[in-house]
């Protein structure tokens, strides 16, 4: 987000905070390609693009959306661990709306009603979180923990504990449809990302968000409406979780109140952190979070693709995450450089 002064192009690229996450992603994909040559291939079939890369992007879409919302909440020193539950609520509300409305007839009305209801419910959840944090002054982790625990209960209440199956084709399009040969979910992600980017770069919102994150008191004194902005970011995080809920439920044509978005909050925070956003607030990078989410999904897909036995999954994931983290640490790279240089210095 920060605009650096323009020295040499190479230096700027090297210092760019996105470099290391991108490099990590590239290495992961490359490693996969080496291990399994077909992995990187893309194929045009029946007017659609097929391939692992498309799958990864498609699968990562809900995580990316949630990570974008999480990034901004974290940027203002917050945290939202209710995203998984909010996703489940949105998914359930959408499925419930559709089951109610499709009995009456077809058309696209149920689709829009479902989208509207789900997003409204999700935004409302975000508002609830925001109010607890901003107005009541609870610590973000506890404020959102409440919804994390109760939210799934609410979702199950709506679904009566059943997995709601959706027999309504237009809705499925959200999760499985293709547009211009690409999965529809990618367009959702691009739209949200572009809107956010515009909003944060072209207006003063980005500046305010970072000011609040670095020093909320100083931002307040400078006249920035810190509380209102923080509140709306929680709403936005809820909204993003709602969008993700639509994609997830449309993809499997059902809403599973108990399992949808399970542990999503951890993955989202991990994506945000890998992307170079400071969890203490202030410095943030939307593009970084996007790359972070892609890294996480690539890890998962890698594990499936190379046929790791399931009981080793977690260990592999842990080691890969650690490798990505270390690669990003300047201190670690410095140490490696020193190790590499030592013999040279001896000869010099």
């Amino acid at each position: 987000m920060t605009g650096e002064p323009p020295p040499s192009l190479a230096r700027r690229a090297f210092a760019h905070p996105l470099l290391w996450p991108l490099l990590a992603l590239a290495l992961l994909l490359l490693g996969n390609g080496l291990f399994n040559p077909g992995f990187l291939s893309l194929e045009w079939r029946d007017g659609r693009l097929y391939g692992n890369l498309v799958d990864i992007a498609n699968r990562a879409a809900p995580l990316i959306l949630v990570s974008l919302g999480m990034t901004l909440v974290i940027a203002v020193r917050g945290l939202d661990i209710s995203v998984g539950a909010v996703l489940a609520i949105a998914a359930t509300v959408a499925a419930w709306t559709i089951t109610r409305m499709t009995t009456g007839g077809g058309g696209l009305a149920p689709l829009f009603a479902a989208i509207g209801a789900a997003l409204a419910a999700a935004a409302l959840c975000g508002l609830w979180n925001g109010l607890l944090v901003v107005k009541v002054g609870m610590q973000p982790i506890i404020a959102t923990l409440i919804l994390m625990v109760a939210g799934r209960g609410v979702a199950q209440l709506i679904s009566d504990g059943q997995i709601l199956t959706i027999y309504y084709e237009p809705y499925r399009f959200l999760g499985t449809g293709f547009l211009l040969g690409l999965p529809f979910s990618l367009f959702v992600v691009v739209a949200v990302f572009a809107t956010l980017k515009l909003l944060l770069d072209r207006t003063a919102l980005g500046l305010f968000v970072r000011a609040i994150g670095y020093n909320p008191v100083a931002a307040h004194v400078a006249g920035v409406r810190a509380r209102a902005i923080t509140l709306s970011l929680y709403v936005f995080s809820g909204f993003c979780a709602g969008l993700a809920g639509l994609l997830v439920s449309a993809n499997v044509a059902s809403a599973d109140a108990n399992n949808a978005g399970q542990l999503l909050e951890l993955d989202a925070i991990l994506a945000v952190a890998i992307g170079g956003t400071a969890l203490a607030g202030g410095r943030f990078s939307l593009a970084g979070s996007l790359v972070g989410a892609l890294i996480i999904q690539t890890l998962t897909t890698t594990i499936y693709a190379i046929g790791v036995p399931p009981q080793v999954n977690l260990v592999v994931k842990a080691l890969l995450v650690l490798a990505v983290l270390l690669l990003q640490s300047p201190q670690f790279r410095g140490q490696v450089r020193a190790l590499v240089r030592r013999p040279q210095r001896g000869t010099a």
Partner: protein
């Protein structure tokens, strides 16, 4: 840091002062709300106020308390440790496997588990400190690693039937009135007392608070910031391993899926107990009440016995909300007055 409130009491005229000092108000509020909730339970449900019900809070939440004490230190420095639940699970599996499959004596296995847990925590601490990585991600990777390693040791749950372990597990320490405590609960209480002493009365503990207040200042004041950070995570690793041991007394089994989600319970307990997630402020004694409050919510719901699965979740959320709201509002008022 229980020592400090006590000091306040001794020094300047008792409860009145304790109530007025904003730093202790939130602790006092937490304690009072806990009591109020217990009384409400007693009014609503028969047999709720039996001593054993409250001792069960310690018996059933002993391992949570141990983990939460370690977590308190980590959070006081402004960090977080997400690996605790996984380390507990790993410890139970390793211990069970060593005892059942490799013929170790439980005591030897316990020692091995404690050493490993501590080393694991110290390694994470060293990574956080040396490579300036964010605690959240390092310990999340640690969580994957510990749980993954646990499944590598055994995917099945392993029951422990070594005579020593069974004897310790079923040992009950009578505390009068027919009520009793388990060994695990006793260990948890000892850890809590030790943690309070460590936080309030030692150089290490005070350095932890200083780092949480302002890491850079602590460095400039000449405090051993780096060593303290590593030690804090080592301590948390130790506490998790110890909790794993207590868990095996509680369950007599080792299983890779044990203690799932424990990290969140522990963090919640610490924060409900009044510790700031940003670091630098909070008490180990508060953490005890955080754990008890979470346990009490569970107990209330079991005593109610009519809630369906989803209502249980909603009720937990609602009770949590009610508690935290009251806590905030009372503490605000108390702090102002």
């Amino acid at each position: 840091m229980s020592a400090v409130p006590l000091r306040g009491l001794a020094q300047a005229g008792g409860l009145g002062r304790l109530w007025r000092d904003p730093r202790y108000v939130s602790l006092a509020v937490t304690v009072s709300l806990f009591l109020a909730m217990s009384i409400a339970g007693g009014v609503l449900y028969d047999g709720f106020l039996r001593p054993q019900v409250f001792l069960n809070l310690f018996i059933d939440n002993g391992f949570v308390l141990i983990v939460a004490v370690g977590m308190t230190f980590v959070i006081l420095t402004g960090g977080i440790d997400l690996s605790v639940g996984a380390v507990v699970a790993f410890s139970t599996v390793l211990l069970a496997s060593l005892v059942q499959h490799h013929g170790w004596h439980p005591l030897a296995a316990i020692a091995a588990v404690l050493v490993l847990g501590t080393a694991f925590g110290a390694t994470m601490g060293a990574m956080i400190q040396r490579y300036r990585l964010q605690p959240f991600v390092v310990t999340l990777a640690g969580m994957f690693l510990a749980r993954g390693t646990a499944t590598l040791v055994s995917v099945d749950s392993i029951g422990i039937d070594h005579a020593f372990h069974v004897a310790v597990a079923s040992l009950r320490i009578p505390v009068g009135g027919g009520a009793s405590l388990s060994v695990g609960a006793a260990i948890a209480l000892l850890v809590m007392a030790g943690g309070a002493l460590l936080a309030g009365m030692t150089r290490f503990g005070r350095a932890v608070y200083a780092i949480g207040g302002n890491e850079q200042s602590a460095h400039l004041m000449g405090l051993p910031v780096d060593a303290t950070l590593v030690r804090v995570y080592a301590l948390s690793g130790f506490c998790s391993a110890l909790a794993g041991v207590v868990y095996t007394f509680y369950m007599l089994s080792g299983y890779s899926l044990h203690a799932s989600g424990l990290e969140l319970d522990a963090i919640a307990a610490v924060v409900i107990g009044g510790t700031l997630l940003a670091g630098g402020s909070g008490y180990v004694l508060g953490t005890l009440f955080g754990v008890l409050v979470l346990g009490l919510i569970q107990t209330l719901i079991v005593f109610d016995g009519t809630l369906s699965s989803w209502w249980t979740r909603i009720a937990i959320g609602a009770l949590l909300l009610a508690f935290c709201l009251m806590q905030r509002l009372l503490a605000k008022r108390g702090g102002a007055g």
